[in-house]
């Protein structure tokens, strides 16, 4: 992993740090999701979830994000075998998948606002927008991160020597996907 730098566990320090970060994020999203669950059904006025949640549309977003995890994993595999051509393709694909997801969120949010659901309408609005908004922010950061890697790759500065960096990017991206799996179930499907 590193030239001449002894490590006690024989593991890359950045990878350890990142898994610790993901553990920490479990508490962040856990608190947000807990609040959503605790306030579910307690809104005094509508719109209520069944009034505005669009399952077909959100299912498409979910598929999109799941597929983007596939593109990410393929991107990592490409970088690991130093196939930078396909690495760029899959990285772009992942970023596009993220952008499509974000586009969907923007459309969904503005649709909800038009239907009368805002942050301050009721508890559903507050908890829904803060939870999914935080997740969306994480996706946006991820897209920025992916595009940065893509630019580095286009500049010829990304090679298999940077596989660990791409692996960690992947960990972030998959985690963001996994949080969406939880949100999709607890917010959209279990109403």
């Amino acid at each position: 992993m590193s030239t001449g730098h002894h490590t006690s566990l024989g593991l890359d320090s950045r990878k350890i740090a990142f898994w610790a970060f993901i553990g920490s994020e479990c508490l962040l999203f856990g608190s947000l999701i807990s609040t959503y669950l605790v306030y579910k059904g307690k809104s005094l006025v509508g719109p209520y979830p069944h009034d505005v949640l669009n399952i077909p549309f959100t299912s498409f977003s979910t598929f999109d994000l799941l597929m983007s995890s596939l593109w990410m994993v393929l991107a990592l595999a490409a970088v690991q075998r130093n196939d930078m051509k396909w690495a760029k393709v899959w990285l772009l694909g992942t970023a596009l998948g993220g952008l499509i997801f974000l586009g969907g969120q923007v459309w969904e949010f503005s649709h909800f606002v038009r239907e009368g659901l805002t942050l301050h309408t009721n508890l559903f609005g507050a908890t829904f927008f803060v939870l999914t908004g935080t997740h969306g922010l994480h996706v946006a950061v991820g897209v920025l991160w992916l595009l940065t890697l893509l630019v580095r790759a286009l500049q010829g500065k990304l090679t298999s020597a940077n596989a660990m960096t791409v692996e960690i990017t992947g960990l972030y991206w998959h985690f963001v996907d996994v949080i969406w799996i939880v949100i999709f179930t607890l917010v959209y499907l279990i109403q």
Binding site: H6, S13, A20, G23, E25, S31
Partner: protein, 598 residues
């Protein structure tokens, strides 16, 4: 070779020793600020129906005293020791992520300044000076902290300041976890790790799991205050008790974050000055880990008067009593360490012994809180104030002083004066008991917390006066300490590598250590390498050029983005979001892409 002198070298330092010193001086400064706030509080309470300080100012004083002491003094003082000592104890050249370490410090400094700026900037918010500092208590209960009841910027300074500080703590937490897990010297298995480093590891895990929860709690408050949500407002079906849950889910692990480092110090100091290994090392380590875990299951014992119901009360009562067990176990092991040892009553040792005695007292009042019916009488009275100050002052502060006296020679090359240290210790011990013991009685006699004055009929005037005298005695003791620090700069006894006859790796290198710490990273075969194989631990001079990472300005730049972002909300200026965001992003990108080799 990086330039090692001048203010620029400090601004760009990524050396854990320098960062440790920066943390120390900044935290100590904030400790004095918090102490001043305490003295003002105690002066106001010295006699009944005093009107030296108005109720409005008083609310700011006790809020800032608590917030400053917890977040700006005690935690960073512990971090100062983590920074300086842990890499030395584990045989590493630095922490795992030196620039992240620097970033943590700058964010801490800026966050502390941001929050304390509130004392002075009242006029910018169309109020007087000394009127917009946070005033909702260090625990900020909703719905007092909501815009309706706290219309001014006070609570905004509080919640935004804490969010900034949270970033610093989290970054440090990740850094120390990786450092301790991955950068240990060859042969240093986990069960050979010095207990201080073990406690640093447990504390770091507590930090990275607890802080996200308060981040969410504060974010909800921010949304309520700025964007019209109703997370804690009943008018829309929300529940103020949600704040209490989220705050204490963070808050209880937080008190273990505050005490475990000091316990780590005691576990180092006692063996050294008893010339005996720590009794029951394995048990002490496991107890620390267990305290970390169990600390997550007790949070609602802060909420026994809220009406959670008998089942919840019983569950949390049981878990709270349970957590006394591993704590007690540690105390017995410390006593076991002293038993039959060759005791040297150095100042460091006195403070550690003082820790044990005072923490037992604090623990006893804590156990009495564990019973909900008893707690219903105690909660929100001065009885609780007694408890927290026995564990936090008698525990954490005494423990940290012990660490300071112990490791001062390692950090500066000079021992602090022992005679002055003894004066400091005894004045502190007498002072703190005068200040805090009467509070047990004051509380049970019916004086609530957080009131700016009290009627004479309550009959607690004399006890309050005694308490105030004690507080000022603590202040005098601190002056002695500060004089000691000052005098030691030029007149302190020069310390060699190992002035105390310590057992662990930090004592094998010069005082202060060279920038690269160890000439050759030693291989260890036990817990006490300097006692079991002293010859093998000798350093023989650097071999060739010792690479030391260059400094970097980007951690500082990135850190500056955070208070700018916070200010955008505080001042309702959208453009500050873009400026702050840009500064943060530029800092991060330059940091990510600059050439840097550990």
């Amino acid at each position: 070779m990086s330039e090692r002198t001048g203010w620029k070298s400090w601004l760009t330092t990524v050396d854990h020793k320098r960062i440790g010193l920066l943390y120390f001086w900044t935290a100590f400064g904030f400790f004095l600020v918090g102490g001043l706030e305490a003295l003002l509080i105690r002066t106001q309470l010295a006699r009944p129906e005093n009107h030296l300080i108005s109720a409005q100012t008083y609310n700011q004083l006790f809020t800032m005293h608590g917030t400053t002491m917890v977040f700006l003094a005690l935690m960073p003082l512990s971090v100062a020791l983590f920074n300086y000592i842990v890499p030395l104890q584990i045989g590493a050249r630095d922490v795992a992520f030196p620039r992240l370490n620097a970033f943590s410090y700058w964010v801490f400094l800026l966050g502390g300044l941001f929050m304390n700026l509130s004392w002075f900037v009242g006029p910018l918010f169309h109020a007087g000076t000394l009127s917009v500092a946070p005033n909702g208590g260090w625990f900020g209960y909703a719905n007092l902290t909501e815009r309706q009841y706290s219309p001014g910027p006070n609570i905004d300074f509080w919640l935004l300041g804490l969010q900034i500080l949270g970033v610093a703590s989290l970054a440090g937490g990740f850094n120390f976890i990786v450092t301790i897990l991955n950068l240990r010297a060859p042969g240093m298995k986990m069960m050979r790790l010095p207990v201080f480093s073990w406690m640093t590891l447990v504390t770091s895990f507590l930090i990275i799991t607890a802080f996200p929860v308060i981040t969410v709690a504060l974010a909800f408050l921010m949304f309520d205050r700025f964007f019209g949500t109703h997370f804690y407002l009943t008018s829309a079906g929300g529940d103020p008790v949600l704040w209490q849950h989220l705050f204490w889910i963070f808050g209880h692990p937080e008190v273990y974050i505050l005490i475990l480092p000091a316990m780590g110090v005691v576990s180092e100091v006692l063996p050294t000055f008893s010339r005996k290994p720590l009794f029951g090392y394995t048990v002490v380590v496991y107890s620390g880990v267990l305290i970390g875990f169990l600390g997550w299951g007790v949070w609602s014992h802060h909420m026994f008067s809220v009406g959670l119901g008998p089942i919840a009360d019983s569950v949390f009562s049981a878990t709270t009593m349970l957590i006394a067990v591993p704590t007690g176990v540690k105390i017995f092991n410390w006593i076991g360490t002293l038993w039959g040892g060759q005791i040297r009553f150095t100042t460091a040792m006195l403070f550690s012994l003082g820790f044990i005695a005072m923490f037992i007292i604090g623990g006893l009042s804590g156990v009495s809180h564990a019973s909900p019916p008893a707690d219903l009488q105690q909660t929100d009275t001065y009885y609780v104030v007694a408890h927290i100050h026995y564990v936090l002052f008698g525990g954490t502060v005494l423990g940290l002083f012990s660490g300071m006296y112990y490791w001062w020679p390692k950090m500066t090359g000079r021992k602090l004066s022992e005679p002055l240290g003894q004066v400091h210790f005894w004045l502190t011990l007498v002072g703190m008991n005068l200040a805090f013991f009467p509070m047990h009685l004051i509380g049970l006699l019916g004086m609530p917390r957080r009131i700016y004055t009290y009627p004479a009929e309550l009959g607690v005037g004399n006890l309050n006066l005694v308490s105030t005298v004690g507080a000022f005695l603590i202040a005098v003791a601190l002056l002695v300490f500060i004089f000691n620090l000052w005098r030691t700069r030029t007149r302190g006894e020069i310390a060699g590598n190992d002035p105390w006859g310590g057992a662990t790796l930090e004592w094998s290198i010069p005082s202060p250590p060279p920038v690269h710490n160890f000439d050759a990273i030693p291989t260890v075969h036990g817990r006490m390498p300097l006692w079991s194989e002293p010859e093998k631990m000798k350093q023989h001079g650097p071999v060739g050029h010792m690479h030391v990472p260059p400094g970097s300005i980007w951690p500082f730049v990135a850190a500056c983005g955070l208070p700018l972002l916070a200010s955008s909300l505080l001042t309702h200026r959208l453009w500050l979001v873009f400026v702050g965001g840009a500064v943060l992003l530029v800092g991060i990108y330059r940091w990510a892409f600059e050439p840097f080799e550990v």
